[in-house]
Symmetry: D2
Subunit: 398 residues, 4 copies
């Protein structure tokens, strides 16, 4: 069967961001291309023309399609013939620029994969949602942890009722890399992420607690009701939170907790999620993503491994695997799974078929909106001494 059948060709990627010194742009390109279903053919990797050229060479992008700005890219690519023009745009720039880029891409008719948090603030997110709804593009947000096979497995198991009614969700996302004020030392990643003019209203809560919250929402589908949040800035002189904790009341009575840290010495990228249901519980840790603990009283603890051939795997879980059990998959593959699912929708679109926009297996614009709402309410709650604020947003999907 051909690549991306019935298209039988690779999808063409236009990358925004990802120039020298970038982290997440390279991750997007590797994730997008891992399965040989896409190719980076164009890029606006930097607004500095020299850096843009340099970056383009890194990606083997033809110099003709190494654009000096995303506007230029969209305009030029739009004029290219159907069999050459980029199919989708990956937005991998700092947060404050997402909105303009993504909205323009959507309006130009390009499919979009947008990094998270989706925009700078909620208003932008809602405007972007409207733009997507007014278009017929595929729009995904890279809440990449949802792409791990065992996360999709867990989601399917919960949807199947294997855990019963969900009553508690505990998520921790613990890092240590901002323990010192490295933004003052010209560390590029640290600099923009701790700068409220680029990162948005929140620091740790915008960068990582959004992932943590999204993960629980994605896996359980529970709708939130209220949130109480307490943010801290432990590193002197830092402008945004680098630690915080939130309590979430879900509509069904479930109690959620989210704690995020960027100041925990030696901790790397430790996302730990635990979910308790009336029939079973589960536990998964991102740093060892190929196994998940599933437990029920009176039974041995069970470790579900990422095993595409195991009878216990759901179709969604098995489809997200590339390798047999025991052959570790990781972060890139999770990204690739987000891309792959979005590609499936892009093919449907390219074929002129209708495709699901709301209840997608990949995080979409609605999740992006909800993420921005989460950030907004966390910051507001924290400013009001952890007051309970509504976490209900019309965009939230089950």
């Amino acid at each position: 069967m051909g690549v991306n059948a019935p298209l039988n060709r690779k999808l063409r990627m236009g990358l925004v961001g990802g120039g020298p010194g970038s982290f997440i742009g390279r991750v997007h390109s590797i994730g997008a291309c891992l399965d040989n279903r896409a190719e980076v053919v164009a890029g606006a990797l930097s607004s500095n023309p020299e850096r843009a050229k340099q970056g383009a060479a890194d990606y083997n992008i033809d110099p003709d399609r190494a654009y000096g700005s995303y506007e230029e890219m969209f305009e030029a690519e739009s004029k290219l013939p159907d069999d050459t023009r980029i199919d989708f745009v990956s937005v991998t720039t700092p947060n404050h620029t997402h909105f303009d880029i993504a909205k323009e891409a959507v309006e130009a008719g390009f499919n979009v994969i947008c990094d998270k948090p989706m925009t700078f603030d909620l208003a932008q997110a809602e405007a972007l949602q409207a733009a997507v709804e007014a278009s017929d593009v595929v729009f995904a947000v890279s809440h990449n942890y949802t792409g791990y096979p065992l996360i999709r497995q867990a989601r399917a198991m919960i949807q199947n009722g294997d855990l019963g009614e969900i009553q508690a969700i505990r998520v921790q996302y613990i890092q240590g890399w901002l323990r010192d004020k490295i933004e003052a030392e010209d560390q590029k990643q640290a600099a923009w992420r701790t700068d409220p003019t680029k990162s948005g209203a929140a620091g740790a809560f915008g960068d990582i607690a959004t992932h943590a919250y999204n993960l629980g929402r994605y896996m359980t589908g529970l709708l939130p009701d209220q949130i109480s949040c307490h943010l801290k800035t432990f590193v002197p002189g830092r402008a945004l939170d680098d630690y915080g904790t939130a309590v979430i009341r879900y509509e069904n009575g479930c109690l959620g907790t989210v704690t995020a840290s960027q100041i925990s010495h030696g901790r790397e990228n430790d996302v730990l999620i635990e979910i308790d249901g009336t029939k079973g519980s589960l536990q998964w840790r991102q740093e060892n993503p190929n196994e998940m603990y599933v437990r029920a009283n009176g039974q041995p603890h069970k470790i579900y491994t990422r095993d595409p051939n195991a009878p216990y795997m759901t179709p969604a879980g098995a489809a997200a695997c590339r390798l047999p059990a025991g052959h570790p998959e990781g972060f890139f593959e999770a990204f690739a799974n987000i891309y792959g699912s979005a590609f499936d929708a892009m093919i449907e679109r390219a074929e002129g078929k209708s495709f699901e926009k709301r209840d997608t297996i990949y995080p979409n614009v609605y999740d992006g909106v909800e993420g921005m709402f989460f950030i907004q309410q966390c910051v507001a709650s924290s400013q009001q001494d952890a007051a309970w604020l509504s976490l209900k947003h019309a965009a939230a999907r089950r």
Copy 2:
């Protein structure tokens, strides 16, 4: 050197509670006697005379000293000669009875090891504190997790400044045994622990979150300022909380979180504590208590094992070990360490020496008071929609 030198004899234990079907009474007796420093010589194991006799045989207690009530025991033992009379009383009954027993024991001049939570409510705890202060007895509370060698090691390291200023404490205490309403099935342990007339104002928070909170306090010495707590009762018909989460503001700005569950399927007795300081972080899990992770940015993760011979061990940590590294110690040994430290004080008392009553290595009456205050404020906060309430109590020690 003789046992309990210079006393050169075993200490004599009078056990209250611990009759057939009891859990913690047996744990106390094994912990107390593990090092051959004490012997159970008397008991008021049950208020039912027949069960009291039966229980006494289990412990090899002389029938003459198998009392029908604690009052009887204190009265009779008080009349025995110095070289026969019990040295200390272990209170291992349900919570609502602790106060009367402990207070009477103190007033009769017996040293006391009291199970936690120390009393039924705060008023009792404060009254007991007064009684202890008015006496010259040794009084310990069995917050047994503080007896683990690596917990004492961690405390010493924090006191030494190895972690720098402490900024975050995360504790989870996750169990699953009350997932079903087993108190309705005549399970003795479940029955009293879920009964507000016996357990006190809180369920999970009284039974296990107190341990979790105490552990953070013990290890860091940080003084608390305010608490916001959210309790849940997930099992229909249960009278007390079986799940909850609290956020704690410490005086120095440290942010603490405590989450406790008794309804997480398949989870056993999973106490996980993580402490973040400006110079390092640590992580310890009760279910695998012989190792502790210590981390600092840029360095390999370090596992400190319970190794009495390792140069990295502090005197307090090393002194709490009985076996070389790699020879697992566990729950009984932690109990035994609480007892052992209390025994050291009892010997000093018996020798007529002054002994430390407040800044002890074992949890004492002040910790017991603070635990009751914690429970009271958690319940009150939860009833007020997780309002911030004061967590400052005059009894709190560093």
Copy 3:
């Protein structure tokens, strides 16, 4: 029910060895007394009278029963009345002295718990077997790892056929404490264990590989056929092996491997056993003894925890637990389980009942003989360039 019913009294222990500086003597006494079923009442803790006295005080032994030699103890105790005389002798001295002590104790009619390896050489072991067979005493050998609840659980599961036919046994026992030549620095434990006149023909293989081999034998009951062994002495100037590996052919075709090290930096007491059967496999690690992995193709990995209340536990496994799941038990408890099982037999003997001598749940004299045969054949094989030698011995039990 009374202690040791129907005896309704504690058993009386006479300890040989265990004086100041000893390791294993103290372990025996704690293990023996943990459940309040026994008491150390007499001892020949050292052949040096002063040290014997000093040691006796440590154990709270009455000075009258602090003997200067084991001969003296056996003679004096034999003359004591039935209700005072020691019930059993624990032999915790260096290996070369075990035989004389144990044989004399047996012949004097005392039950015996003998440390491993049972004797200095095979001839002694066979002579001791004959002595035990000629007597009516209970005789146990402290292959203590067999006392762990999950080891007894595994044994019962294998006996029940849960793993099918056993085809492979892999055991590693890795330590690092003899990495340097600490025997030259007057480290008492190292000194005798590396001295062929005290330890016997083998070093690491006598001290720890015997445990490893015994564990596989105990758990599977498979009879051995042949062995090929390769011993190494890595530390210059050391007289005995400090590393080695052996391959074992079992009668049923099962292939076994045993590797032991005392020179692996930083390794503590890492016994790892893996058993493969036609229906399932298992894996257990001594340093985390409260869990065991059980696996079968196509199923989630299962962790059996030490849970006395779990339906999956066999009676033998459950009976070896003292605490609920999640409350770690360790090394002392494993020792205590060997003692406890031997006590059960001692009670039967004391009641005049017949009791099982060969197919016991505790390691017995036959296991001791087999251990010495294992050592002898390992050394011989190694000396013959790892030649295959017979590992069949008439004493071997299933």
Copy 4:
């Protein structure tokens, strides 16, 4: 900087094998292309023309370059202009076909990445070595586990002397997928791997023990002296070994053990290597490849994580990382590292520079020869009752 600078273009890959139903062909193509440094442009994916076409579409190979045989591919590609012709050939077919394909590719001047074991027997391997030596091609063998960052890190540490003199190497490679006779059920992977006419003289030892042995050799550089091996076939009717163990004497006195299983229920792909040196020891497990334990007596156990930014990382270790610590990398990345290192050499060759052929960071033809010698001697030793045979081969590199 351009891709593969100064070439500034992707390298062109010709894939042999990898058609529908293949496992390792897809792994090679993903590994090769992960970093956007290569592209699959031609293939001889199957000798069946229809399947070859079908497979080519899977890889987006132009139908013109979807060849019906490798001979056809080499002939046709050789005639293509320099800027179109494939740069390298990946040989991913069953073992018995490697030699003809690889030799012809080498002789046609194509660089080669050959799957392991390199050939069907030693004679072929030696002939291939001669062919490679007579050519100027880059030749790599996909002993992929050597591509893990922490394996390269460990190798550099050992070369730096961090562990001192190496005295023991223990490797286990445990799988369970051939527990049942699935080759009888037309499972394609199982069928050829258990067929001596396709797999070669050994089963488990050819398929996986070679990896295990190679890993120890790669990490330590120690030269082997002798081997004693014992192979077993546990599944009735199977033609090749599915279990075995070998003891290896290294020239410096180090003792090695290699155990491999394909019949251990539920075990996935569990490669565990432990190395003991006079100054430190290390331990690494493939199923959790992002961490490695490094230990020394008296120090905390250290976990080196795959952290490109950590001061403790060697240049070789850091260069093999793509992501920050805590962002798991896995099996594909290890493959990609083998490819990437071979690409570096291919660029040097393309630039007309001399390049290292023997002391390469990637496994090369000499390792391939040694692997075949290992298999031959294992089988021979096993047939002679585990006799000690020489393991010295002239091709062995440090």
